[in-house]
């Protein structure tokens, strides 16, 4: 295994470090490559046993308010958890259920409706899918979900039971991140959610996806470092050739910067102004998508032929970063939106 001196997520704070350690340990034992292969062979990404473990460990309910059985933590606590889920390519809708849906339900003023769902989430009994207007036309893990929270671009939130959904599964690039088109049969339940909460849920989706990408990019780096260390040509490890080392070093730069941006974006949701938090979330995801795409190219290139095989595990991460990069805002869409806002802001500043 790699012995890098890259600083792990959560390193500056004991509580967060502990949460990351707990996640790493759990996923290391139950969401390794064997698990991914098993899910792939089963043709079913979600594994109720793994989800139950995540729930038992208190990770699924980390953001659920205490009155509904959760830990009531602020979202910055789960940035490292998401990073680890991304690093393990864990095929579960954690971001959707435990972060985005929990934020919408906990922030809803319809407590009679939201409360029981939060309690079932805490118990690990249900999965919730989310559709965030233009950010996610394709719904992740829709076929597994017990509930869909459908957030329109105007901020309206409708809740639909699984029985109310017609789910058309798509040929997902990443079979362990299943996507579907979803058509609700009725108007569902109109859920009262204040606009600030809806905006916060959107920010968390975008910043959270950046955290998943940061972890997955780190996994591409680690696997590449491992491979070029053991693979010998011309009588020495290929990782001792400068052309290879420099490509790996650039991956490390991108991986580290993605991590800083993604973790920082989740922090900002709690401590910064909404405008600043939004800029940081959009920037983190825009950068993460681009960096992951470049890390994807280098990782496969440095692995050579073996990386192209179905048997070797690398492709699980190659596809994961491609799938995540295409969800919750593509790099070019987010860049342009940020650029347009900056031009407008500069104009306004002058009056």
């Amino acid at each position: 295994m790699t012995a890098t001196s890259i600083i792990p997520p959560g390193a500056a704070d004991e509580d967060r470090r502990e949460l990351v350690r707990l996640t790493t340990d759990l996923l290391g034992r139950h969401s390794g490559t064997e698990h991914l292969r098993e899910r792939l062979d089963a043709g079913q990404a979600h594994d109720p046993r793994l989800w139950a473990r995540l729930a038992e460990a208190g990770l699924v309910s980390a953001l659920v308010p205490e009155e509904h059985g959760g830990a009531g933590l602020d979202p910055s606590y789960v940035s490292g958890v998401l990073h680890e889920l991304g690093r393990h390519a864990t095929p579960e809708p954690f971001l959707e259920t435990a972060v985005v849906a929990v934020t919408l339900l906990a922030g809803s003023t319809d407590t009679a409706y939201a409360g029981p769902w939060l309690e079932r989430i805490t118990a690990g009994e249900v999965l919730v899918a989310v559709r965030l207007g233009g950010l996610t036309p394709h719904v992740v893990h829709a076929a597994d979900a017990d509930l869909l929270l459908d957030v329109a671009d105007d901020g309206t939130v409708r809740a639909h039971d699984a029985s109310d959904l017609e789910v058309q599964e798509l040929a997902a690039l990443d079979a362990l991140r299943p996507l579907a088109l979803v058509r609700p049969g009725t108007d569902g339940v109109l859920l009262a959610v204040p606009p600030a909460v809806v905006e916060r849920a959107r920010l968390l989706a975008v910043a959270g996806a950046a955290c998943l990408l940061a972890g997955a990019t780190r996994a591409l780096l680690d696997q590449t470092v491992d491979y070029v260390t053991v693979r010998h040509q011309f009588g020495r490890p290929v990782g001792s050739f400068q052309a290879v080392k420099h490509a790996a070093a650039d991956m490390a730069v991108m991986s580290e910067m993605t991590t800083s941006a993604a973790l920082g974006a989740l922090d900002a949701v709690e401590v910064s102004t909404p405008e600043d938090a939004r800029r940081r979330a959009w920037a983190a995801k825009a950068y993460a998508g681009d960096a992951a795409a470049r890390a994807n190219v280098s990782a496969l290139q440095l692995h050579g032929g073996i990386g192209f095989t179905w048997e070797y595990h690398l492709h699980l991460w190659l596809k994961r970063v491609m799938s995540l990069a295409a969800s919750y805002g593509t790099t070019s869409a987010l860049r342009r939106e940020l650029a347009r806002e900056l031009v407008d802001r500069q104009r306004e500043r002058r009056g």
Partner: protein, 403 residues
């Protein structure tokens, strides 16, 4: 980890104080570039104003004339400084490199002797590391210093010395033990401070690609330097040099605000070139805007780690590769957005009725573009940084060295 940078009352209060002082003191008209004698003297006068206000180095300990501001306040200071469009700092060698190095490796006498004049900008320092035959392979340096009583006698040549033509003192790496160096080239090197007015020193300014005299060659012929001007142990200068380079490569907490100000100027360029609805221009602007936001996040993360007592050694090279590429991207993007007018150096007319800030930014854009190119080379080229990252951070095997 969390950064509470934006919420703490004391940081906010400090920020307000900084903002008020800057509003009152920052020159209304931008100073001429420091690469001319007139511009340099004006920048030096500005440094004196900063010093008199107590703002020369807010992060330094009080005993050295700083404010012991801590990382969060220091970052707030830098954010306000660049937002206010205040002049470029000219004593980087002294403030960011020599000062911290002396606090770490210097004797109390050396600190008392040199640090106050760094702070007030009475003494401008430059760095004497590179030689004509020793660039990336720095430890092969051959400027020699031979002991003669209580003095070293220095002979040799330094090159690419930034601000050499304007500096008063140089901190240089010299070889004091050639025997030790033959066994292991990093041994026998000494970190020596030299007054550039000493007999036998000759500074020859070098014109840079844009014609300005931003750097110089420094020749030493039998220059006598008291042994009391050695920083650290004689023969152990490599260690001191590495901590200097660590400061040069690592995060200068708060400099992200400088880049954000440049990207703001780019947004204004987009508007005044009529590109506000041009998808490709927005994409390019968005790219550098994203990079500056990512860099800001990295500065905050490293600051939080530093505050928690973490070791940032493994981050310096990663940081250097990223910020120098980002800086290049910013200035390169500016040239591309200016289209045909990129071939005309800094003509404000090319920006029509753009606000003064944008026209000002464009006026020395080319100069800063070349500086951005230089930054990918100085402080250890980015290729050397990639070697360091791959070997010391990622643990990849060393490249076989010629025996």
């Amino acid at each position: 980890m969390s950064d509470h940078l934006a919420t703490q009352d004391d940081v906010d209060a400090f920020r307000a104080e900084v903002r008020a002082w800057l509003a009152e003191h920052v020159p209304a008209e931008p100073l001429p570039a420091w690469t001319s004698r007139e511009g340099f003297d004006l920048h030096r006068a500005w440094e004196r104003t900063l010093f008199d206000g107590g703002w020369a180095a807010v992060d330094w300990p009080r005993e050295y004339g700083g404010r012991d501001a801590g990382l969060r306040r220091s970052i707030a200071f830098a954010e306000e400084y660049y937002r206010a469009g205040a002049p470029e700092r000219i004593n980087m060698g002294g403030l960011y490199l020599l000062g911290p190095v002396l606090m770490q490796h210097g004797t109390p006498e050396q600190c008392a002797r040199w640090i106050p004049d760094v702070l007030s900008c009475r003494t401008i320092w430059c760095q004497g590391f590179s030689e004509p035959g020793s660039g990336s392979d720095l430890a092969s340096l051959s400027t020699r210093a031979d002991l003669d009583g209580d003095h070293f006698v220095v002979n040799g040549q330094k090159i690419w010395t930034s601000m050499g033509a304007f500096a008063d003192w140089i901190f240089a790496l010299v070889r004091t033990d050639r025997e030790a160096g033959r066994a292991r080239k990093h041994d026998g090197i000494t970190f020596l401070c030299i007054d550039l007015r000493s007999p036998g020193v000759e500074v020859r300014p070098l014109a840079m690609v844009d014609g300005t005299e931003g750097f110089a060659e420094v020749y030493f012929t039998d220059v006598r330097v008291p042994v009391t001007q050695v920083v650290g142990e004689v023969g152990q200068g490599w260690r001191v040099a590495m901590s200097t380079l660590g400061f040069e490569r690592g995060a200068v907490f708060g400099d992200h605000a400088k880049f954000s100000a440049d990207v703001d100027a780019l947004a204004s360029v987009v508007e005044h070139r009529g590109l506000a609805d041009d998808t490709q221009a927005l994409d390019e602007l968005g790219r550098v805007l994203v990079e500056t936001e990512v860099y800001r996040a990295n500065v905050y993360r490293l600051a939080a780690l530093a505050e928690a007592g973490g070791n940032l050694d493994s981050t310096a090279s990663i940081n250097k590769v990223f910020w120098t590429q980002m800086q290049h991207d910013i200035f390169d993007t500016g040239l591309r957005l200016m289209q045909e007018d990129a071939a005309v150096v800094g003509d404000p007319a090319a920006l029509g009725d753009a606000p003064p800030g944008t026209r000002r930014a464009w006026a020395d854009w080319h100069h800063r573009y070349w500086y951005a190119r230089a930054a990918m080379i100085f402080g250890g080229t980015n290729e050397i940084q990639r070697n360091i990252i791959s070997e010391r951070v990622l643990g990849l095997p060393l490249e076989p060295r010629p025996s």
